[in-house]
Every structure is written in structure tokens, then in C-alpha cells.
Symmetry: C2
Subunit: 332 residues, 2 copies
């Protein structure tokens, strides 16, 4: 038998526990080319809100009754596919469930970094690491000496962006939502400055932290935080739009100050970025990030929930800001 988390009720805005249900189902026999993966860790992503939305998104919406879509990491325990024999450690689109019957196209990659914690495949060496490294370098195009501002700076993506930017010789400024995260930014992730966005004087504090203006803004929040950063752009600034965590719902699009004048007077660009578009660069990116992790140059934190029962409320918890670092669900 297999236990699965399925979508039980359509989600408006941020998915809550009541949108999901845990069910038990028999594991079907494997067909040709299929593998059975025993999931060790499941991922929890802010982006899951979008995947669950029935409004336009970059992926097909998840339907009621479907197993919740998720990247996971685990071991092949049965195989009808030569490429992935029993025992192989794999990460891929295996869903929020204990056992996954998967096809080769569901596998993202074979995990070769067996010296590192398996769960890193969902964080630094997974989608978060890809979004952070590739979004920063390809869309942010930072050069040494640039000032790089990051929102949700202590989060699963933001914490990597800040550290990679620092490793590339940039001055880094983090924006986060609590005093504890300010400390993490300064002490763990090496930001040059870290600002609590709930501070009533965010705009002048930001101006003070970025005396030469903002060259790159890696935006995980949108909303009022981004409006404050946009007021400090340097000429030729690049804004990487990677997430919109501060916006409760896009179902009726929120309003805000129009951006055109800032973009025009600063000749700035604002660019949406999805790591999924750059799969051809995953292998080299994993290698780069794994080396930095091994060398102690890239710190990471995890927020580990235990057991499938933790899944239903896990996305809502991310939006409540309760995690410090990458949130994963440990099954074994």
C-alpha cells in the first residue's frame, strides 16, 4: 500500500491544510520503462501556490484527486527501466507520496553527491539552487562591485542568491521579515546589510544601505518591498522576478505604483525568470554549488517537517514565514 497527499478542494490564494487529503492506495504493477521510487524527502515550495491555481501559470494546474505535484528525492526499489536500476538515488517529479511509480521523464537527475545530505537535492542542489544561481547570473548579470539586493533573503532561494552574489564579489543587502532572520542574514549568509521590511523607515534604511544605488534586485516578493527597492535603482539596473511571496492572491491582480517611469529613467530591466527553462545548465550548476557546499563557502539551513501528515499545512506555513531555510518533509 502507498500513502498519498491529494488535492481535495480547489485552492484560492494560498493553499491551506483543508485543500488536501491523505489517502491510501495500492501500488500498481510497473509497466515497461517505469520505476518505483521510495521517497525519502519531499519538497515544499512557495511556487506550489501557482501550480495549484486554475488561473494562467507556467504549468498545467493540478486537478482535484491528483497527487500533489512535488519534487522529491529517493531510491529506486523496483525497476523496469535499464537507465535507473534498483538502488539508484534519484530526484524528480515524484509527488507528495511515500512511493512513486515514475517514468524516465519524471526523473530530473541521478544524485551523485552521495557525500552530502540527500535533502540538499531539494534545496541548494535542487530547484532552489537552480533558480538562485541561474536567475542571478543569467537575468541579474551581476559584476564584482555591484550592489545586489535580495528579498526573502534568508529563504531557500534568497539565502543562496545572497551568498553566490557575495562569492562573485558583490555587495549584498538582504530584506527579510524578522529580527531572527536579520541575524541569520548577517551571521550565516554573510550579507553586508540586512533590513527588516516591517521597519517603518524601510525606504531611507535601504537608501543608506545602498549608497551607490541598486544594480541587481533579486525579487522573491513583489509588493511594497519591491516598490521600495525600485526607488533606489542605479542606472542600468536588473530586476530578476523570481517569486511573488508578498502577494496574497493574483486571482484579482493587486495594484501598485506603475513601474514604467522608474524603468525608463534608470534604463532598468525587469525580467521574469524560471529555472525550468534552463535544464541544460542544471548539471554544471549542481557541480558549482556542490563544490561551494563542500568547501564551506555556501551555508544552508533546513526546516525539516516529519511525515506525510505534515504536508497539508506545509505551504501555508511558508507564507506565514515560519520556516528558516529550505522546508522539506522527511519520510524516512
Amino acid at each position: 500500500m502507498n500513502r498519498q497527499v491529494i488535492l481535495a478542494a480547489a485552492s484560492q490564494g494560498i493553499p491551506q491544510a483543508h485543500n488536501f487529503q491523505i489517502i491510501e492506495r495500492a501500488v500498481p504493477d510497473l509497466a515497461t520503462d517505469q520505476i518505483l521510487v521510495e521517497n525519502h524527502f519531499l519538497s515544499v515550495e512557495p511556487a506550489m501556490r501557482g501550480w495549484l491555481s486554475d488561473k494562467g501559470n507556467y504549468s498545467n494546474p493540478i486537478r482535484i484527486g491528483d497527487v500533489m505535484r512535488s519534487i522529491a528525492v529517493g531510491r529506486v526499489t523496483a525497476s523496469k527501466c535499464e537507465q535507473y536500476p534498483v538502488g539508484t538515488l534519484v530526484t524528480g517529479w515524484f509527488g507528495w507520496q511515500e512511493l512513486a511509480v515514475a517514468r524516465p521523464e519524471d526523473v530530473i537527475r541521478v544524485v551523485k553527491e552521495v557525500d552530502l545530505p540527500m535533502s540538499l537535492c531539494l534545496g541548494v542542489l535542487g530547484l532552489n539552487g537552480m533558480a538562485a544561481y541561474l536567475g542571478l547570473t543569467l537575468a541579474g548579470a551581476p559584476i564584482a562591485g555591484d550592489t545586489v539586493v535580495v528579498s526573502t533573503a534568508a529563504g531557500a532561494v534568497g539565502s543562496i542568491v545572497g551568498q553566490v552574489a557575495r562569492l562573485l564579489g558583490c555587495r549584498t543587502v538582504g530584506i527579510i521579515g524578522s529580527e531572527a532572520k536579520v541575524r541569520a542574514c548577517l551571521d550565516v549568509y554573510g550579507y553586508d546589510a540586512a533590513l527588516d521590511y516591517s521597519h517603518p523607515q524601510l525606504a531611507p534604511k535601504l537608501a543608506e544601505a545602498c549608497p551607490q544605488g541598486v544594480n541587481v534586485y533579486f525579487d522573491n516578493t513583489a509588493g511594497a518591498i519591491s516598490d521600495a527597492v525600485r526607488a533606489q535603482l542605479a542606472i542600468g539596473a536588473r530586476i530578476v522576478v523570481c517569486g511573488t511571496a508578498s502577494v496574497a492572491s493574483w486571482d484579482s491582480p493587486p495594484t501598485g505604483p506603475r513601474v514604467e517611469r522608474d524603468l525608463l529613467t534608470k534604463r532598468a530591466r525587469m525580467q521574469g525568470f524560471l529555472a525550468f527553462d534552463h535544464r541544460d545548465r542544471y548539471a554544471s550548476t549542481v557541480e558549482t554549488l556542490a563544490t561551494w557546499v563542500r568547501d564551506g563557502k555556501l551555508a544552508w539551513r533546513e526546516d525539516v517537517l516529519v511525515g506525510l501528515e505534515a504536508c497539508p499545512d506545509a505551504i501555508a506555513g511558508l507564507y506565514r514565514g515560519e520556516n528558516m531555510g529550505k522546508r522539506v518533509i522527511r519520510l524516512r
Copy 2:
């Protein structure tokens, strides 16, 4: 004696006639390296609103008592500068006045296209042509087969953007504000489709005109028109922010739907563009555009006002949408 249009009162929003005053002043003797230019045509630009704003812009604000900043074209009638002998036809920052005492750095270029109307130096072969060609190609990066949407599509910049995009093999869709301009788009500028933005069904009309989505949006307006276009972006779309004509004032920034979700789901980019940043490309661009004009491939229209007295109300008139094509002031 010289007659000049000076800024008489600070401008909020769109500059009106009462913001200017016409005065008479003696022409000073030329100093070393200076030239005296007899202006034949003066330019009128939507961007003058920004130049006159005391809020942050890409250029220093014009102060009360200053001659109104403008590009002009005329002939050197006295010279203490070897580079520009008497008789040379020049275009440059000569201001809204009959005679300009200018330094070499005020000259944009010597006009070599003596077979073409002199006033084209302010339009197709001037700042408008540079913004249109360089903004479209450098920031819009169109490729043959792309759908290119242009706002103020029959205007001084937009009409060139649409024609260049067509010459590059793109499908072109213009958005404009009157039935007469719809006709000009279709009959003069060769757009594949042209939509009046005052039409109550702009969004569905636009979707119909762009069945494959919008690959490039050359934005001269911002505001509700841009919101409608943004809803039709294709994956990987490029928005060139060149002007914000539909926004009456940025002094308190207007609000609108937030753009982040559209940019993210479509992996689109939105980029502010100023031709002034690309002076090194002016010469080759003038050559390209002049060839197209001579070959009858690039149509142009002018809205010619006569005499310095026409200057004070000329900018407000642009924002009233009363011109068809490039507005210039003819002095001789």
C-alpha cells in the same frame, strides 16, 4: 537681436502655454570654439514633459529663465570653431530660439543628407528615429515572424517602429487613439492591424489581432493600454518602455495592476530605453533610415507649426493627440 522661448513658471504634469514666455535678447559675441546657428526647425517632444519636471529624470531639470531645451536643425552663420565652418548644416541642442550660440558639445551631428528635407533631422533621422530603431532592435530584439505591438503607433516614434518591424519581417499591430490614425496605420505605415484604444473591447480585439501572442511590445504610453497588451504576451516577450504618454503626471505615481505575475509566468522582460545611451550607433542608424526613406520604404508625416509663437502650446498639443506624425516648428 534674438528671440527665445524661456521657461516662465515651473511645470506640474503636462507643460502648458502659460509655463513659457517669449523674450528678446541681444546675441552675445562668440567666444573661442563657439558657433552661431540660425535655427530652421525646432523639435517638439513628448519627453519634454520629463525634461521640465523637477522630479528625478534622466536629465537635469530646466530652470526658470532658461531657454527651453530642444534639438533643432539649422545653419552655422558665424563660427569661431574650425570643426563647423560658416555654412555647415548642423543638428544639435540649440534650444527653442531663433539664433543659438553653441559649443561643439551641443552639436549632435553635421547633416549630410542634403537631398532630404532638413526637418527629417528632428524626426526619422533624429531622436525619434534613433529611439525607434535602436529601442526596437536593441531592447525589443525582434526576429522575423514575431508579432510586434506598438502604442502611439502613428506617432513620431511609433510610426517608425511599426515600419522597421515590418521591414524586419515581423507582423505589426498598432494601437492609436482615433479612426483617422487607424487609417494612417493601415494605409501609410503598413501595419497588419490597427486598433483604436478607445474601443470598449480593446482586450478581445487585441487577442484576435495577435493569435500567437505578443513577442515585442514597444510601449510609448504605459497605463491601461499597456495593461491590455501585457495580458497577451507570448513566452519570452520583450517590452520596450520608451515613453509614458498616457500618464498625465508622475508627480504622484499612478497605480495600476502589478506586473510581476505576467512577467514571471511569461518569462518576459520589460526594459526602459533611452536613445541617448547609444550615441555610438547614431551614424549607422541615420544611414540605414535615410536609405529606407530614399527607397520609399519608410513613410513619414510631419505636423509643422510655424513661428516661435507656436512653441508655448506645442507640447500640450502633443498630449492632446492633435498631431499626426512628427511635430516640428518651422522658423524659416
